[in-house]
């Protein structure tokens, strides 16, 4: 079992590297981190806050868009493309179990996203810390950001693989990945904001709304990071971060739940594939 998962893992990771996914993702994430950092350092001087802490806050907000996108792009074609080209039939004709194929692909692509995050954010963080100085709070915020970004990436890799197994065709898988990204990352927040403004009775805003926000994995990631950064200048839906009715770690639990859910669903869909 471990040899087979390891074999799939090694091949998928090699493909992610050779297809320049890792390099490209590292470049994009690193670039944004540095730009936000330099921008934040200017603000930080005025606010008398730590540059790394401030950047962690703004980067958390931006990562909500970028990391799911990168994770979905890396994974959406993984099953669908192989089904279309007939390559999956060869893999599934071997004694490998279907869940092993899913697990191997998931581990490799999550790691690819993770490597990009560690390289990009790590280098950017080191650069910012050395250029503008920082304290232990800043470093803690930065490490939290990197760790949770990795989990967020894994959740969306799981989503992408599940959609890919479900769609079975590249075009369908691409469309559903884009749709998922739009719904979870863009439309969900807008809809919630709209409803909280419409329902002005206070019960919804104070009791239901926070749970609805944290139920979305992307928002859970952002809330967790922002809630633990006191100086974070927050606006809109993120204002919630300072008035959460539950401890911030609940957001981590949500990410964990989503991760188990997409893995379980993805494996179920993989078992139904007809190559």
């Amino acid at each position: 079992m471990t040899t087979r998962i390891g074999t799939i893992f090694a091949q998928e990771f090699r493909l992610a590297r050779r297809n320049l996914w890792v390099g490209l993702a590292t470049g994009i994430l690193g670039l944004f981190a540095v730009v936000l950092g330099i921008f934040g350092a200017g603000q930080g001087a005025a606010l008398d806050a730590d540059a790394l802490t401030l950047t962690a806050a703004s980067l958390a907000t931006l990562s909500v868009y970028l990391i799911p996108l990168i994770a979905l792009l890396m994974s959406y074609d993984s099953f669908a493309g192989e089904i279309e080209r007939g390559a999956l039939a060869l893999t599934l004709a071997s004694p490998v179990r279907r869940w092993e194929v899913f697990a191997g692909k998931f581990a490799a692509q999550s790691l690819a996203v993770g490597v990009a995050i560690v390289l990009a954010f790590g280098a950017a963080g080191a650069f910012l810390a050395l250029s503008f100085g920082t304290g232990s709070d800043g470093i803690a915020a930065w490490l939290r950001l990197m760790a949770t970004a990795f989990v967020l990436g894994s959740v969306f890799v799981g989503f992408g693989l599940m959609l890919s197994a479900m769609a079975g065709r590249t075009a369908t898988a691409a469309a559903s990945a884009v749709g998922l990204w739009l719904v979870l990352v863009v439309i969900y927040d807008l809809a919630l904001l709209g409803s909280v403004m419409a329902a002005s009775d206070g019960i919804f805003a104070s009791q239901v709304f926070p749970w609805l926000v944290v139920a979305n994995p992307a928002d859970a990631f952002r809330l967790y990071n922002l809630a633990l950064i006191e100086t974070a200048p927050v606006a809109g839906i993120d204002g919630l971060a300072s008035t959460l009715p539950f401890p911030p770690t609940a957001a981590l639990a949500v990410l964990g739940l989503w991760l188990s859910a997409v893995l379980a669903l993805g494996i179920r869909r993989t078992k139904r594939i007809v190559p």
């Binding site: 040899t3 390891g6 074999t7 091949q11 493909l15 390559a87 004709a93 071997s94 007809v274």
Partner: protein
Amino acid sequence: MTQPILDIRDVSLSFGSFKALDGVTLAVSPGERLALLGHNGAGKSTLFKAVLGFLAQGEGTITVAGHRPGSDVARIAMSYLPEVVSFPQSLTGREVLAYFSGLRGASRSEIDGLLDRVGLADAADRRVRTYSKGMRQRLGLAQALIGAPRLLLLDEPTSGLDPVSRHDFYTVIAEAAARGCAVLLSSHGLEEVQGQTDRVAILSRGRLRASGTLAELAAAAALRTTIRVTAKKGHADRLQADLGGRRMNGCRLEIECAPDAKLGLLLQLGHHREALHEIDVFAPSLNDIYRYFSDTKGDQP
């Protein structure tokens, strides 16, 4: 007699209301090579996929090494070469084989030998992207041979190969069969598999029309031999009067006869030596035999 490694009994399979396989019965024993012939859409690939356990089986039973398709034992016992082979473009041939060897739990030390056997030793460390169609096909065969499988399922393994590569391909397959591996391969024509397989099965519109050795098929078809006689000027009428047959033109006569009547007819022609210009004998071709069984006329049971 040895237990067949692949046993297909009365298998039917439908896509919606379309019956892709209809009561197919077939068995392949260790060391035996069986060619499955059929027109486009006859159901060859569908049968392979059913044996692999990819398709929910309708009626009938399939066993591979005594086990259900898709079970661990079945998948360990067999390996597969699909009709369209596709490997990740950015991997090298060696990496592709290492991948399948990892999945089959085989030793990596056999990879070099396999690459050599299919003639890819020189291209082993090049990306698959740079391979020609034939090279990819060879890589596909090498992949199927990993871990010494007991049953090889090869779906149109030689389509698109040049005659030399094709011959090499069958040599490798024969080596595997000599080691006791059962081979089921599909193809479009009898000529191609003549002499390369022990038995032939003909599938048409999802039904098995015939199966046996080539000689058995030829005998069962009992196709008539045609003898074409070209007479010297002015002798054609007399020849026809004596031997029967159809006049094609002023001096040409075509006589059809059962295969075993051919010799007698030729001896009879010997009596007319002075009238003969030329004799051509057309035994039924493999193509004719194939057409005979594959024809939809055979639809009536």
